[in-house]
């Protein structure tokens, strides 16, 4: 099977600090991969390079066979908007917009008319257990509910890959596991791949396989039992 996303020989330095030292990593369509490692190991840098947020110093990143690391910022930005979805620990929802408009925003940015974008965005609410919360603002949602809105927003454009950086880091264990289950299920249900950066083995346990980064090097790769 062809890889949906592939990073080869990725290196990245910040001054004297080596964040990535020649990392190779691939993700297959529909696969969920967890990136683990201690703080400062380079796992977020790897995610940012794979997502086209950051340009590696050397090496290359390909999405469905097309090289993306040498694209200009404008094209990479458009790519992130249309082919990738993002879920962060917190803070990614616009506090002024109601939940349904937060979800519809990526569609509107892609040129979809507002009414249609909101209609399509609202379809995600019931499956994610958010029925009736469409008009609520982020400040009126619990942490778990806000993360589910963020998941809906990441998936609404039908992306190829969803990137999640510590998506349950701000949630209690039960809510975190529920959120992770929904993230993995919804991502797979839509045929997207998932890359999750986490410290939590429980979160990593929801993924198909786990890779560990230490001192900028990919140490081991293990498939889920």
């Amino acid at each position: 099977m062809n890889d949906v996303l592939a990073g080869r020989g990725l290196t990245k330095r910040f001054g004297q600090t080596v964040a990535l030292a020649g990392v190779d990593m691939t993700v297959r369509p529909g696969e969920a991969v967890a990136i683990m490692g201690p703080s400062g190991s380079g796992k977020s840098t790897l995610l940012h390079c794979l997502a086209g947020i950051m340009k590696p110093d050397s090496g290359e990143v390909r999405l469905e066979g097309t090289r993306i690391d040498d694209m200009g910022e404008r094209r990479r930005s458009a790519l992130r908007r249309t082919r990738f979805g993002f879920v962060f620990q917190f803070g990614q929802l616009l506090p002024e917009l109601p939940a349904d408009e937060n979800v519809a925003l990526p569609l509107m940015l892609g040129g979809v008319a507002r009414a249609e974008a909101v209609r399509r965005g609202r379809k995600w609410f019931a499956p994610l257990g958010l029925g009736g919360m469409e008009a609520r603002r982020p400040g009126e949602l619990s942490g778990g509910q806000a993360q589910r809105v963020a998941i809906a927003r990441a998936l609404v454009t039908r992306p190829a890959v969803v990137f999640a950086d510590e998506p349950t880091g701000a949630l209690d264990q039960t809510t975190g596991h529920d959120t992770m289950r929904l993230l993995v299920e919804a991502t797979k249900h839509n045929g997207a791949s998932l890359i999750v950066v986490t410290h939590d083995p429980g979160v990593a346990g929801w993924c198909d396989r786990t890779v560990e980064v230490r001192d900028g090097v990919l140490l081991a790769a293990g498939a889920r039992a």
Binding site: F14, G40, G42, T82, Q92, E96, L105, P106, E140
Partner: protein, 665 residues
């Protein structure tokens, strides 16, 4: 402990933290400089009034009279000369007036430096011959402003200048008065200028207060999360407040010192602004050292207090900043307050008492500030409901979310719009005067018009000035022959029953000089001379309007810039994450622009209309072209300035979104 920690936090704030610090420092510096200007204006007019008081004699009344004093106005090259006649009463040795080393003896004349210089520069027959016995030069203490033309003439107490009947109209001078001292008292027009200066100060201070709020908001934008974190690790509310005050005060103190220095540098420039006939002594524009020290101390303390007020949510709850809920709607009663104030406006007229006018206009001004956020919220709802593109949707939702913050951005320009609308209608254009300089008139003592006319002809002939001299009742009219006709004032000409003319300035001054002392205590004047004061005060109102509007707009534009920057800093995390998720920078920037421009257009226009509505009852003439031009220029400058100030924070937006993942983790 608090100051030490605050200082370390300030130094360790990083590049963006320092940017916020510099912006706060700049905002406080501008506030301090303008505050000093607003205060100095009042001191400056008071100093002028005090220095000019000795020429406005106070009758001795029950006290022992020591001198006789009279004053009148003469003219040269279209400028006014104040001529003061002084005589010591027999057996008395009065103290000399300010600026003179001794009391002038009969026949002596002291000239102000500017008049002495002019007398030396012009041919003697045009000016110097009016003062044949120049004795000395007046010191600055005798002068209202450095370019003032003043002549002090010593007389005998029984000299005709001090005994002959004079016109008591204040516009031509003041008749001889026996005085107990030459202290005098400020003239009515000097006091009028002080009242106008006070109004100007108030009009400038209102936008300054708005600006202060914006600066404080900026300090809070940088601190809230950090201080919330300190609360989370156990800092007491007292410690948080202490650190806030310490940090705000450190920055604001540096800003206040910078502002004071900037004001000092601006004084030479400001002293060139001509009001009441001339520029300023630089010393007049220096506030008293205690006021200066007070501003440098008070501004940082007020900034500290504003920061504390802005941080009360953090102090109340460490989670206060993070929780965002639907804001409660504002009440319609705000609009009713404005309508109530405006309903009172048509009932006023120029005859209404000044207190009632001030209260009604003040209420309208303040209620505009009250209504602003409500209208911004309404505009936000309309914008959000009708938005088809993301930028407008974001802008509309932002306006609904925090209409007060959006109002803060545009309130300075909107409130200045009110002032512009009010003054734009109120400012009369030019005085509807004749500008006639071709005819000199002098009142002759009763029954002596023919004799005075005869002497006039002799003197003019001797001076080589061609003129036709006639009498009209007790007035001798001198029509200069080398004058050109003024056209276009048919109604006025019919009223005067003679053609209006403009004389060659040199010929006019030769005639004035030849006729000096013709009728003791009286000066031959033209129609233009008689219109001098009115024209000057209208000119001063125009200059004052421009100064007040310039200061207000400077503050408003700086305020808009600071608020835009603090808004970017406030939302830096959201902006960075949106950008990271692929939102184009243009969309974020367009949303920011719409968020400012939509309320600016509605509120700025609305405020101008409200201001103009409030000005209608006080219109002296039809709206004049220059007033409308001032208004249009203000609108244009205000809009451009706010848009420009907002654009200045675009690099900041780029900076907070350019590198969304700087950590090597």
């Amino acid at each position: 402990m608090n100051v030490g920690l605050a200082w370390r936090l300030l130094k360790g704030g990083g590049r963006r933290g320092m940017l916020g610090t510099w912006l706060t420092l700049g905002a406080v510096a501008v506030s301090t400089a303008l505050l000093l200007f607003a205060v100095a204006v009042d001191f400056a007019f008071a100093a002028r009034a005090d220095r000019g008081a000795w020429r406005n004699p106070v009758p001795a009344g029950g006290r022992t009279a020591v001198a006789v004093e009279a004053s009148r106005y003469d003219y040269v090259r279209g400028k006014e000369i104040t001529v003061v006649d002084l005589a010591a009463l027999p057996g008395k040795s009065p103290e000399p007036p300010p600026g003179l080393s001794r009391f002038p003896a009969p026949g002596e004349v002291w000239l102000s430096p500017a008049l002495a210089e002019l007398a030396d520069r012009l041919p003697a027959a045009e000016l110097a011959a009016r003062y044949p016995e120049r004795t000395g030069v007046l010191g600055d203490e005798a002068l209202v402003h450095p370019d003032e033309l003043v002549a002090v003439a010593g007389r005998a107490p029984d000299a005709p200048e001090l005994t002959a009947a004079r016109d008591s109209d204040w516009i031509v001078g003041s008749p001889p008065v026996k005085v107990a001292s030459l202290a005098g008292e400020p003239t009515e027009d000097a006091e009028g200028y002080q009242v106008l200066a006070l109004i100007a100060s108030v009009l400038m201070v209102v936008p300054l207060l708005v600006f202060g709020g914006a600066a404080a908001r900026l300090t809070v934008a940088r601190r809230d999360q950090r201080l919330a974190a300190l609360r989370l690790v156990g800092a007491t509310p007292g410690q948080v407040v202490g650190m806030t005050v310490a940090e705000a005060v450190i920055v604001a103190f540096a800003g206040a010192l910078t502002g004071a220095a900037a004001y000092a540098l601006a004084v030479p420039l400001l002293s060139r602004v001509e009001i009441d006939g001339g520029p300023w002594f630089a010393a007049d524009l220096w506030p008293h050292p205690l006021v200066m020290a007070g501003a440098v101390v008070a501004v940082p303390l007020l900034t500290g207090l504003s920061a504390v007020a802005g941080l009360r949510r953090v102090v109340v709850s460490p989670l206060g900043v993070a929780k965002r809920e639907t804001p409660p709607g504002m009440r319609f009663v705000r609009v009713l307050v404005l309508f109530a104030a405006l309903a009172a406006v048509p009932m006023m007229s120029s005859d209404t008492s000044a207190t009632v006018i001030a209260v009604v206009i003040g209420l309208a001004f303040l209620s505009l500030n009250l209504v602003g956020p409500w209208v911004v919220g309404l505009i936000g709802r309309i914008t959000a409901a009708s938005a088809r593109r993301p930028a407008r949707l974001l802008a509309g939702r932002r306006l609904v979310d925090d209409p007060r913050a959006a109002w803060r951005t545009v309130s300075g320009v909107a409130l200045t719009g009110f002032v512009a609308g009010f003054l734009g209608l109120l400012s009369p254009g030019s005085l509807v005067g004749t500008q006639d300089t071709g005819h000199l008139r002098v009142s002759a003592p009763a029954g002596q018009a023919a004799a005075v006319a005869e002497r006039t002809r002799d003197r003019l002939k001797e001076a080589g000035v061609a003129a036709a001299v006639t009498t009209r009742k007790d007035v001798v009219v001198i029509a200069l022959k080398e004058a050109t006709r003024i056209t276009g004032q048919d109604a006025r000409r019919k009223e005067l029953d003679e053609p209006l003319t403009q004389a060659d300035p040199a010929a006019l001054d030769r005639a004035r000089t030849a006729l000096a002392g013709l009728v003791p205590g009286r000066t031959p004047t033209t129609e233009a001379d008689d219109e001098y004061f009115g024209a000057q005060i209208l000119g001063d109102i125009a200059v004052g309007t421009v100064v007040v509007l310039s200061v207000s707009f400077l503050v408003a534009i700086a305020s808009a810039g600071i608020t835009a920057a603090s808004s970017v800093l406030d939302r830096r995390q959201t902006y960075a994450l949106l950008r990271l998720a692929g939102t184009p920078l243009e969309v974020l920037d367009r949303a920011r622009r719409a968020e400012t421009l939509i309320p600016l257009a509605v509120m700025g226009g609305g405020a101008i209309l409200v201001g103009a509505f409030c000005g209608i009852p006080f219109m002296m003439t039809d709206p004049n072209l220059s007033g409308l031009v001032t208004l249009l220029v203000c609108v244009g400058v205000g809009f451009t300035g706010v848009v420009g100030a907002g654009a200045l924070s675009r690099p900041l937006l780029r900076s907070v979104t350019a590198d969304p993942a700087p950590r090597p983790d």
